[in-house]
Assembly symmetry: C2
Homo-oligomer: 385 residues x 2
C-alpha cells in the first residue's frame, strides 16, 4: 500500500519503455485532498538535475497536487531541452488532472546525461495512461515503477490516532544524500499546514536519510516529498506526528541500506560520547567512507586500525589515545591499544555494528553504511553498458 | 642505486622474519656526512603511529644521521610499549653507529596494532646485522626491504651540476597522504642547511606526494625524510635544487600510483581554469574519491555524469552549467550537456586522463588516482588474514 495507505491518495505505475527490461518505469502519486499542503527536501549537490531545479520552485508555496516519477533516465545535464522536458511533463500531468502545473513535482532517476526527444516522448506521452491507471491501492505499482538497480520495492507505513503516514523510496546506488535521499514520496491523511509539514520533514530526514551513506556518492536527483491530504480531518500533535514520520523515514532508510548495490553487510557506525552531535556525525561518516575499512568488513575482518586511521582524518574533538572501538559487541581496541581477542568477533551476519567511544563528551550519532564488495564494483563498472 | 646514488650515503636491507614470506623487512639508510642537515614531513592524520611521534621530535633540530625502516608492522596503536620499541630501536642504531639516538628517524609500515615483544625483538635484535650490511651500493636492498603489498621497489634519481638526489618509496595502499606519503627516504650530496632543505621538501611534496590519492585513505605512518651529506661540497641554487627535488618526488609519486593495490588504471584528474589552486585540488580530489566514477573507469566506461556529480559536492567556485569534461582527449560534456560521442573514448590503456574545465578562473591542479577494481576489494578484504 505505502503511499496509498493514508486516505485521500491514489497512485499508479506503468511501463513506457524507459527501462530496457520492459518493467514499469513511470509512476504517479496524486493527492485528492481536501488539503494539498506539502513539504519537500532536495539534494544539496550543487549539480542538480532538471527535475530538482523545477521542483524546488514548485514547493515554494507549500502546495503539491501530484508527484510524477520516472526511472530509466535522470534528466540531469541534458541542457535546456531537458528542463523543457520536465516542464512539459508537469504541464501534461496538470492538464490531465485539472490542477496547476506549478503544483506538480517531477522526479527522475537513472543515468545522468539521458534525456533526449525519445525520453521526453515516452514520459509526456505516457501521462494519459498513468493518470488512467490511478487507483486507491496503487501504492505498490508506483513503488515498483521507480526502482532502478533496487532488487525490491521499498514501502513503509506508520499511524497515529485516526491518521496514518505511508511512504515509498528507491535507492541502490549514488547513495549518500546531502539533504534527502534518492526518490522518496511520503503521504499522510493528517491535516497539517505546509509549515508544520516542512519542520517535521526536515527534523525526520536530518536523522534518517541524511545518515545513510552507502557509497559516499551524493546524487544529483535526491528528492523527498511529503504530501498531506487532510482526509482524516485530524490535526495531530506535531511532536507525535514528527516521531511517527521519523520512524517511517528510518524504516525506509534501513530498507535503502539493506538493498544497496552489491552490499553484503549493513553496517551501523555509532559514535558515542562525542563533544557534539556534529562531531559524532563527522567521525561516523569518515569511517563509513573508508574503502579500506569497508573492504575489510566484506572480508569479515574486524580491522580496527582502519577505523582509527579514518577517525584521525577528521577535525572532531578527541584524544587519539583515548578511543575505544567495539565491533559486534567485542571491544577490540581500548584507549588506543589492542584489547579483546579479534577471534571473538563474528562478522558473518549481514548486520554489523561498529561502536566508537570518543570519551570526550556526551553526544552521539549513527551512520548507516555498507561494505565494499566485488558485486559493488561489478555492478558499477557495468552499469552504463 | 636510489638513496645511495648521491655521495656520502650507505644503505642496507635484511630479513628479520617480520614478513611471513621471509623477504627482507628491515632497512637502514645512513648519512656519512660531512653534513647531517635534514628535513622531514609527516602524515597529517591525527592518529599518528609511534614512529611518527618519535620522528617528529628527531627532526626539530634539522639533524638526521640515519633512518631505520621496517615493514611487517606499523607500530601504531600499540600503546606505551610500542613507543618504547621505537625509542629502543633508535637507541640501538645510535649506539652501533656512534651517533645520537635523537638523530635517528624511525619508520614502520604494515598492519596497525602490530607491535608486541616479538616485533620489538626482531627489529632491535636486527640492528647489528643491518648496520653490518651497510654498503655504498645498498640502495636497492633498502628499497626492497620496505615493500609491503608493493609489487616492485620504487627508486628515482635526479642530478644537477656536480650534485645528485636519490630517493626510494613504498606505497600500495592507504594511499592518500595528507602531508607526506607512506615511507620515503631521499638523499642528496648537495650542501644545504636544514632550513633550505625543509623549504624545498615542503614545496616539492605539496605538488607531488600530496596530490596522490589512490584510495582516499590517509595513513597513520606517512613519513618523507630528506638527508643532505654535503659530500659534493657544492651548494646548489635553491630554485634549481627544488625543481630537481620536485621532479624526483613526482617520479616516485607516479611509481606509487602505478603500483597501487589492485589498480588497473592510473588516472590523472586535471582541473583547469579554477578560481584558485585550492579549488582545483578540491574538485580533483572529490572526483578521485568517487567510488562510482572509479568503478566506471575500471569498466572502461567514460561516465562523465559521475564526474559532475562529484564536482557538485564541493564548495569550489563554478557554474554547474558551464563545466566541460574531457576524457582521454574527447570532450564528452560541454557546458553541462552531452557533446562528443562517448564511443570515441578509448579507456583500454592503463593511463587515463580526465580534464575538467571550470571556466571561472586561471588556476589548475592535478590529482593522481586509480580505479576501483575487484582486485582492490580482494586484496583489502584479505589483507589481515
Amino acid at each position: 500500500m505505502s503511499v496509498t495507505a493514508p486516505a485521500g491518495f491514489e497512485a499508479s505505475g506503468i511501463a513506457r519503455g524507459l527501462k530496457s527490461t520492459g518493467a514499469t518505469d513511470l509512476a504517479l502519486v496524486v493527492n485528492r485532498g481536501p488539503s494539498s499542503a506539502a513539504a519537500a527536501v532536495f539534494t544539496s549537490n550543487r549539480c542538480k538535475a532538471n527535475p530538482v531545479l523545477w521542483s524546488e520552485q514548485v514547493i515554494l508555496d507549500g502546495v503539491v497536487s501530484a508527484v510524477i516519477l520516472n526511472s530509466g533516465g535522470a534528466n540531469c545535464y541534458t541542457g535546456a531541452f531537458g528542463f523543457q522536458t520536465t516542464h512539459a511533463t508537469a504541464e501534461a500531468v496538470a492538464e490531465t488532472l485539472g490542477v496547476s502545473a506549478g503544483d506538480v513535482i517531477v522526479c527522475s532517476t537513472g543515468l545522468i546525461g539521458v534525456g533526449d526527444q525519445t525520453f521526453r516522448d515516452k514520459i509526456v506521452g505516457g501521462v494519459p495512461a498513468v493518470v488512467e491507471s490511478l487507483s486507491s491501492d496503487g501504492g505498490l505499482d508506483a513503488a515498483l515503477a521507480i526502482m532502478t538497480t533496487d532488487t525490491k520495492p521499498k514501502q513503509a507505513v506508520a499511524s497515529g490516532s485516526g491518521w496514518s503516514i505511508g511512504g515509498m523510496a528507491k535507492g541502490a546506488g549514488m547513495l549518500a544524500p546531502g539533504l534527502a535521499t534518492m526518490l522518496v514520496v511520503i503521504t499522510t491523511d493528517a491535516d497539517l499546514p505546509s509549515a508544520a509539514l516542512d519542520a517535521a520533514l526536515r527534523a525526520a530526514t536530518r536523522v534518517t536519510f541524511d545518515r545513510v551513506d552507502s557509497d559516499g556518492c551524493m546524487s544529483t536527483n535526491d528528492t523527498v516529498t511529503l504530501m498531506a491530504s487532510g482526509a482524516s480531518k485530524i490535526t495531530p500533535d506535531v511532536t507525535e506526528f514528527t516521531a511517527a514520520l521519523t520512524a517511517l523515514c528510518l524504516e525506509l532508510s534501513l530498507q535503502l541500506q539493506s538493498d544497496a548495490e552489491g552490499a553484503s553487510h549493513d553496517i551501523t557506525i555509532e559514535v558515542i560520547n562525542a563533544a557534539s552531535e556534529s562531531d559524532a556525525v563527522t567521525v561516523a561518516r569518515a569511517v563509513s567512507r573508508s574503502n579500506l575499512f569497508k573492504a575489510a568488513i566484506f572480508g569479515n575482518d574486524p580491522n580496527w586500525g582502519r577505523v582509527l586511521a579514518a577517525v584521525g582524518t577528521t577535525d572532531a574533538e578527541f584524544d587519539p589515545y583515548n578511543i575505544d572501538v567495539t565491533i559486534n559487541g567485542i571491544m577490540i581496541c581500548k584507549a588506543g591499544e589492542p584489547f579483546e581477542d579479534r577471534e571473538l568477533i563474528d562478522l558473518t551476519p549481514r548486520a554489523a555494528h561498529v561502536l566508537i567511544d570518543l570519551h570526550i563528551g556526551s553526544e552521539s550519532a549513527a551512520i548507516y553504511t555498507n561494505d565494499l564488495t566485488h558485486d559493488y564494483v561489478h555492478e558499477n563498472s557495468a552499469y552504463a553498458s
